[in-house]
């Protein structure tokens, strides 16, 4: 009994990483979830990915919807089930209710015919995978529920005997409570996965949790996922990505010489830099300089803009002496403008990941990251940032994210609190009211693994970009947004000399 349980890679993107290489091979896994949580998609995708990626035929046992309905619903996800049926790679066992006939019960019965049909279908196409969707429907059709439970157990045991890996789906009545309505888990499931589609602060958030895999490992906790047309379920593995990050001591330019000096010689490659400040302090400018600095060195950049349109961005860049259009034409730059509200955070993540994988940039700039806060819950946003930074670091890309502070003077952003421990460098931009004049200040708050300039520098902006000047002297409270002139010893001496009349 202590034999190591092998895993079967499902091929569902992200899932195998969470499940540490897949589902327990030759076993049945229960996938439980409330209505609309994606159970049927999971079941169908388990078979589809098997056919597409591993050439493993599959049997789909449907208890609820007719095979035609299922085909219709999942063709939109990009799986050509009718074609696979013709090729003998996908077979339906239709156990859905036959509407035209009512069933009369007259004496003892079992589900022997169903089992024989499943076994027969497996034999006919040499199936390695079986999906059963969904068990609730069969319980509602037969009165003898304990009998049905033991029959399902018998089916699971039979499948195990013929070394077929199976997924059974079952309904949950509530998101947090009993695993399933009919207590199936006690009988069939050594392995339980829960899909959730919870409403939190007016936003839907899909998560997947592996509750147990008997005798084998998996990552714990809830992992966000999304369902994308053409791809199906994509799980976003969070913690499973984090540990592989390498760190580089190669320096790269920020695009601004003085800022490079302040950082002790530039940013580190594959580091994450957060630029935080109120609106108009120069965050977009810093990301523009970051991009043009890279392009000058022949590096490729990808800019995700969530606040401004293409036209606005390009006009801004021209105003600072940078030509985004030319950079794009030469293939060094790709600018992607998306309105945050068009999709959920998970979908944004997948899209960004796809774009990064396709363009293979050296640098990624996101302006601004905080705009994405609007479309998510705090928890979801934190997970998004962790997933994104892990991915960017893993690809050895330098990432520069901007974050907009809610107040003009001082203030921390929510993005900052979520991200500050993950970022390698933090640059703060602040407005300063001095002598009835608004000035801009910049400081490098954090530079992981390196000495850096700790002063707060004044900077100005003109049609050639950003000019970082001298540190502010005798001023305190800049970061808090309340600059105060500080008297120094030197000032006292000067005052003394004035009073004595020597000056």
């Amino acid at each position: 009994m202590n034999a190591i349980i092998e895993k079967l890679p499902t091929g569902i993107p992200g899932f195998d990483s969470v499940a540490q290489n897949g589902l327990p091979k030759g076993r049945t896994t229960l996938v439980a979830g409330s209505a609309g949580s994606g159970k049927t998609v999971f079941a169908a995708q388990f078979l589809s990915e098997g056919i597409l990626k591993y050439d493993e035929p599959g049997v789909f046992v449907t208890f609820e919807e007719s095979p035609d309905d299922i085909c219709r619903n999942i063709v939109s996800l990009g799986w050509d089930v009718p074609q696979w049926q013709r090729e003998g790679k996908w077979v339906f066992v239709d156990a859905s209710p036959q509407t035209e006939q009512e069933t009369i019960v007259a004496g003892a019965y079992d589900l022997g015919a169903l089992l024989a049909r499943i076994e027969g279908a497996i034999r006919r196409i040499g199936a390695k995978r079986v999906a059963m969707d969904s068990l609730g429907a069969i319980f509602s059709r037969f009165d003898d529920q304990s009998g049905i439970r033991s029959e399902l157990f018998r089916i699971a045991a039979t499948l195990r005997g013929i070394k077929v890996t199976a997924v059974m789906t079952a309904e949950r009545t509530e998101e947090h409570g009993d695993i399933t309505r009919y207590g199936v888990e006690e009988f069939v499931a050594d392995n339980v996965i829960i899909l959730r589609n919870a409403l939190d602060a007016e936003k839907r958030r899909r998560t997947l949790e592996i509750l147990k895999f008997r005798g084998t490992n998996h990552h714990k906790g809830e992992f966000p996922f999304t369902i994308i047309p053409g791809e199906g379920i994509v799980v976003i593995p969070l913690s499973s990505l984090e540990l592989k990050q390498k760190s580089s001591d190669i320096r790269i330019t920020s695009g601004n010489t003085v800022l490079d000096e302040m950082c002790g010689g530039g940013f580190f490659r594959d580091s994450i830099i957060l630029v935080s400040g109120a609106t108009g302090t120069g965050k977009t400018l810093i990301s523009t300089e970051f991009i043009s600095g890279a392009v000058k060195q022949g590096e490729r950049c990808l800019l995700f803009a969530f606040e401004e349109s293409r036209e606005q961005l390009f006009r801004n860049a021209i105003g600072w002496g940078r030509d985004f259009k030319r950079m794009e034409n030469e293939g060094y730059l790709k600018v992607i403008c998306v309105y945050p509200e068009v999709a959920g955070l998970e979908d944004h993540f997948i899209k960004m990941k796809t774009e990064i994988e396709a363009f293979k940039p050296h640098r990624v700039a996101i302006d601004s990251l905080s705009a994405l806060e609007r479309v998510s819950t705090a928890k979801g946003f934190r997970e998004f940032i962790i997933a994104l930074t892990s991915f960017i670091k893993h690809e050895e890309i330098t990432g520069l994210f901007t974050s907009t502070a809610p107040t003009l003077l001082g203030g921390a952003t929510i993005t900052e609190t979520h991200i500050s421990t993950i970022t390698d460098s933090i640059i703060l931009l602040r407005y300063l009211e001095m002598n009835s004049e608004m000035r801009r200040g910049l400081t490098v708050l954090k530079m992981r693994g390196s000495m850096h300039d700790k002063s707060i520098r004044q900077f100005t902006i003109d049609n050639t970009g950003m000019h970082v000047g001298e540190p502010f002297h005798n001023i305190s409270g800049i970061l808090a947004g309340r600059p105060v002139h500080v008297e120094t010893v030197e000032d006292f001496c000067k005052l003394g000399r004035l009073l004595k009349g020597t000056e």
């Binding site: 019965y109 022997g112 279908a121």
Partner: protein, 101 residues
């Protein structure tokens, strides 16, 4: 020929409910249906495709294919009254027909 009753009984090998169902059906046919039944017993272990065609889930399952409408009864058929009622045959008419003959 109108009165011909066509029944298909789906069983799984020689399990108890299956054996009981065979015996019960035979008895029922003789005692209550005047013996004029055409019965076919199908073992799903050998002919799973046929079970697939008729979407049989439970065994034993009795299918009445003729006369229409078709009917489906599951269980070992030990509850004779329920089976007779379930088949939806007009027994009086059946018996009257037989008497005419």
């Amino acid at each position: 020929m109108d009165g011909k009753i066509v029944l298909h009984l789906y069983v799984t090998g020689g399990t108890f409910p299956s054996e009981n169902a065979r015996a019960n059906l035979k008895r029922l046919c003789q005692e209550r249906l005047g013996g004029c039944c055409q019965i076919r017993v199908i073992d799903v272990l050998e002919q799973s495709e046929l079970a697939e065609t008729h979407k049989i889930i439970a065994t034993p399952t009795l299918l009445k294919l003729s006369p229409k409408p078709s009917r489906r009864i599951i269980g070992d058929l030990s509850d004779s009254d329920k089976v007779i009622a379930g088949l939806g045959l007009c027994i009086d008419k059946l018996q009257a027909d037989q008497e005419e003959e």
